[in-house]
């Protein structure tokens, strides 16, 4: 409150300041919320005064008045120094306006039309009579042109392009697929998708969420393909968001997914525009968010965790093999440690005698019971990963190597842990990183801990109970209303062809039926089939 009181009436323009003293509007401090229902004032000074009282001076609000058309009219230009391209303002707004002579036959009531159509050489121009729109536009990098004796303003897009350049995706590295990735610029991200899918059938719907952050969110889908019930459901969930701040797509996702207590990812975050484009054509729905270099793809099924863009660039035999390898890696990352604990402590009969002797020899002198040994080493692996991830590249590398040497070599030599446990834990940890989505890595690690505990308590009986509980959780999870285990459960013969394996394109002509509402055929005769 005090801040606004101090900031009130401090105008950059002296005339405006004088005028404001006598003006009823500016005689009281103004809160930003008061701009909500205000109309634009008829005098430039009142508008300048109002904006200054809202923003204060420190934010970098620049407001200047110009006499144009040889003194026949006055305009005022406001903009935020930090958000706009100043060269653009001087070259394409100020210069043409000032240099304009009185050759035009002016009807002052049409001044805004004249400026918009004849003088300004910028395509992104909007008109507004609402102060709320003016305030928002200023913050978004627009220059505002106020006209004397008119309660209308022109909002001219002069946004500064200071986003980083398009780079190769760091988190989803591929060998044969394209090498561009999303940036923090929402428009650039949208253009990367529409460039791949240049069709009017691709719908973009924009929302603003976050009471303070005013984060822009875009919902993308194909009207002729996607299941419109899912679109409607997502639309409803986005509209119901009521929160102060949204930083990025992850935070947005948490607010719109159902059953947020589930450990499994129910949406896919991707950096790759090609992956988004491919999924949109299958009937999935994408969400983009300003200031976030990720897109959200929904709904997501369990099997989607094992797909990469390379799968569609490789020969289908190779990509099918690689998918099966990833599924095996998921199984190893979740169950290998548990199986080891079970076999060593309860169900020794299954261990071949030579291996059993090796394990027993390795365990000679180890002070900890197997379950503690496995649990503590798994935890240490998680700590090492977390430490090396948060440190700068070379330091992280160093920490990782040091930890591997110390734990892998010294701990065994010192007799704290057995060599076989090191092997099992290392295989389990490495396997978790072979899954294609990073969001599935931590669920896999958590399930791993759960399985170790179950196996350590009841051996194979506990492990199978753990498996049953995880399966139960998987089949009860839904992603935006869709069963998570699709296409296995409910079974869809066509969609299974692009699940654990990837069948050749010639055999995958039908889109996943659960995702589409009408247009199911994607290859060949594009007649509607349902």
């Amino acid at each position: 409150m005090k801040k606004y009181e101090k900031q009130a009436f401090k105008l950059t323009n002296k005339k405006a300041a004088k005028k404001s003293e006598s003006n009823d509007i500016n005689s009281n401090p103004v809160r930003p919320s008061e701009a909500q229902n205000r109309k634009i004032f008829t005098t430039i000074d009142d508008n300048f005064g109002f904006l200054t009282s809202i923003f204060g001076e420190s934010i970098g609000l620049t407001q200047t008045k110009y006499e144009i058309l040889e003194g026949k009219a006055q305009v005022g230009i406001s903009y935020m120094q930090n958000n706009v391209d100043k060269n653009m303002i001087s070259s394409y707004i100020v210069k043409p306006i000032i240099e304009c002579t009185g050759d035009y036959l002016i009807d002052t009531s049409n001044l805004s039309v004249l400026i918009q159509s004849k003088l300004i050489h910028i395509p992104d121009v909007k008109r507004s009579t609402e102060m709320k729109q003016v305030v928002t536009a200023l913050l978004e990098g627009y220059a505002i042109i106020f006209l004397q004796d008119m309660n209308e303003a022109l909002l001219v897009g002069c946004k500064k392009a200071d986003f980083r350049a398009v780079e190769a995706p760091n988190n989803e590295v591929t060998v044969l697929a394209s090498m561009d990735s999303f940036t923090e610029d929402l428009e650039a991200n949208c253009s990367m998708i529409s460039r791949r899918l240049p069709t009017p059938d691709l719908h973009f719907e924009e929302y603003t969420v976050g009471r303070l952050s005013n984060t822009r969110v875009k919902l993308l889908w194909f009207d002729s393909i996607s299941n419109l019930k899912v679109v409607e459901e997502i639309r409803k969930r986005i509209q119901s968001i009521d929160i102060d701040n949204i930083d990025g797509i992850g935070e947005l996702a948490e607010l719109i997914v159902e059953k947020p207590l589930s450990i499994f990812p129910k949406y896919r975050q991707t950096q790759r525009p090609d992956f988004v484009a491919r999924n949109l054509t299958k009937g999935y729905i994408a969400i983009l968010c300003s200031n976030s270099p990720f897109a959200l793809i929904a709904p997501m099924f369990f099997i989607d965790n094992f797909k990469t863009m390379d799968d569609y660039s490789e020969n289908f035999f190779i990509s099918s093999f690689l998918r099966l390898v990833r599924v095996l890696a998921f199984f190893l990352s979740t169950s290998l440690s548990g199986l080891y604990v079970s076999f060593v402590t309860y169900n020794q009969a299954i261990v071949p005698s030579t291996l059993a002797i090796n394990i027993a020899t390795g365990r000679d002198g180890v002070p900890l019971p197997t379950i503690i040994e496995v649990l503590s080493l798994s935890l240490i692996i998680s700590i090492i990963r977390e430490a090396s991830l948060r440190l700068p590249g070379s330091v992280g590398y160093f920490i990782g190597s040091l930890a591997a040497v110390v734990i892998g070599q010294s701990a065994v030599t010192a007799g704290y842990v057995s060599a076989s446990v090191i092997i099992v834990i290392a295989v389990s940890a490495i396997s978790s990183y072979a899954i294609s989505t990073t969001t599935m890595v931590y669920p896999a690690r958590l399930i791993n801990y759960f399985m170790i505990l179950m196996a350590g308590t009841f051996g194979m009986f506990g492990l199978i109970n753990g498996l049953i509980l995880v399966t139960w959780h998987l089949v009860s999870v839904r992603s935006f209303g869709m069963p998570y285990m699709y296409p296995l459960i409910p079974f869809d013969k066509e969609a299974v062809k692009d699940s654990f394996i990837r069948a050749p394109q010639a055999y995958t002509k039908i889109r996943p039926s659960i995702l589409v509402h009408d247009n199911t055929v994607k290859t060949g005769n594009n007649t509607k089939k349902n």
Partner: protein, 367 residues
């Protein structure tokens, strides 16, 4: 009447599997005893003989698509007889689950967890069943679907290592080495025991979309489970010999113990026990579900979670008290031989009479 959730073809198919393969995984030695080497044939025929009863149940479901068989009796004959039948139905389900759990617990005690008190194992199984039943029937259906596939793959992939070294053709031929009466006895016992399927079907018939029209979903499940289970008995006999197979308990696990491949493949009984565990849990889940739905029919839709807890409790107590494998085995045989099928036939007769009465009352509005 509110619309029930509808199950898919695959879910019905695997529910049928689970319904058929219940206590028979332990009591099949009784069939071996009756039918000797032709036990697998008797099992195959015995399971197929369920088809008329299944068709009867589905046909009744056609007249009142959103109701269980007991709802039909309640709506036509009256609430009191329906409640009495529900209580008997609950008692039978409790016995089926208790015998299954006890026999499984005793098996674990013999092979794996010698020092673990049976009450702990039973408690864990009951808690997991409670968690699963607390979800809706579609989740149970999806779980049954996926676990049945895992159980079958697990079982038969273990036995794949038995070929050809462990299989002895001499134990299979001649197939019919017993009297016709023996085979008929075996068939009758199989039909009686596997009629546990009808216990489930009477409850989930309201979740089958157009039950009689989709009868093939259940019949294909019956047919393939007949093939699978008779094949399992055949493998056990071919490995152990018919004489040994009918004398020892846990035939599947014991024959899996024999499987070795060099020095690297041993101890496969662990995986076969896994299959038994999935069957035991699946059976407990379905019995608990049947008890819960019956409780709801008796006490109404009030405090349904409490009713589920009650169902879990009434399943747990006899399972804990039963303790002995032999007692459980003979109770299971008694149920299969004399109780389940006769009771279910009487329920079906009453429901058929009920449909007649309803038709008369409504002036043949029912199709």
């Amino acid at each position: 009447m509110p619309q029930n959730v509808k199950l898919t073809r695959e879910q019905i198919y695997f529910f049928t599997y689970l319904g058929i393969i219940g206590n028979i995984v332990y009591t099949h030695t009784w069939i071996d005893n009756d039918a000797n080497r032709s036990a697998w044939v008797a099992t195959f025929i015995g399971i197929l003989l369920l088809i008329p009863f299944v068709l009867w149940t589905l046909y009744l479901g056609k007249f009142s698509p959103e109701s269980t068989i007991f709802d039909i009796i309640r709506d036509s004959i009256g609430k009191f007889p329906s409640c009495i039948l529900c209580f008997i139905f609950i008692a039978i389900n409790i016995c089926v689950a208790a015998t299954q759990l006890t026999m499984f617990t005793e098996m674990l005690k013999v092979f794996v967890l010698q020092n673990t008190p049976p009450i702990v194992i039973i408690a864990i199984m009951i808690i997991i069943a409670f968690i699963v039943v607390n979800s809706d029937i579609t989740v149970i259906g999806r779980l049954v679907e996926i676990l049945t596939v895992i159980a079958l793959l697990n079982y038969f992939s273990s036995f794949a290592f038995a070929f050809p070294k462990m299989i002895n053709i001499k134990y299979i031929f001649p197939i019919f080495d017993t009297s016709l009466l023996g085979v008929i006895n075996g068939i009758a016992f199989t039909t009686g025991t596997t009629s546990e399927l009808l216990l489930i079907l009477m409850m989930i018939v309201c979740n089958i979309p157009e039950p009689f029209k989709h009868r093939n979903w259940v019949i294909s499940g019956i047919f393939s489970s007949a093939v699978v289970f008779s094949l399992a008995i055949l493998i056990i006999m071919a490995m152990l010999s018919p004489e040994l197979a009918k004398r020892i308990a846990f035939g599947g696990v014991n024959s899996a113990r024999l499987i070795t491949l060099g020095s690297s493949i041993t101890g496969l009984e662990i995986f076969v026990i896994g299959t038994y565990q999935i069957i035991a849990l699946g059976k407990t889940i379905m019995s608990m579900y049947c008890c819960w739905i019956s409780f709801k029919r008796i006490f109404g839709e009030r405090k349904t979670r409490l009713q589920l807890a009650l169902a879990a409790l009434v399943l747990a107590i006899p399972s804990i008290l039963l303790k002995s494998y032999n007692s459980s085995y003979f109770i299971a045989v008694f149920l299969g031989r004399f109780i389940i099928l006769p009771f279910l036939i009487s329920v079906l007769i009453l429901a058929s009479i009920g449909i007649k009465i309803m038709k008369k009352k409504k002036g043949c509005v029912l199709k």
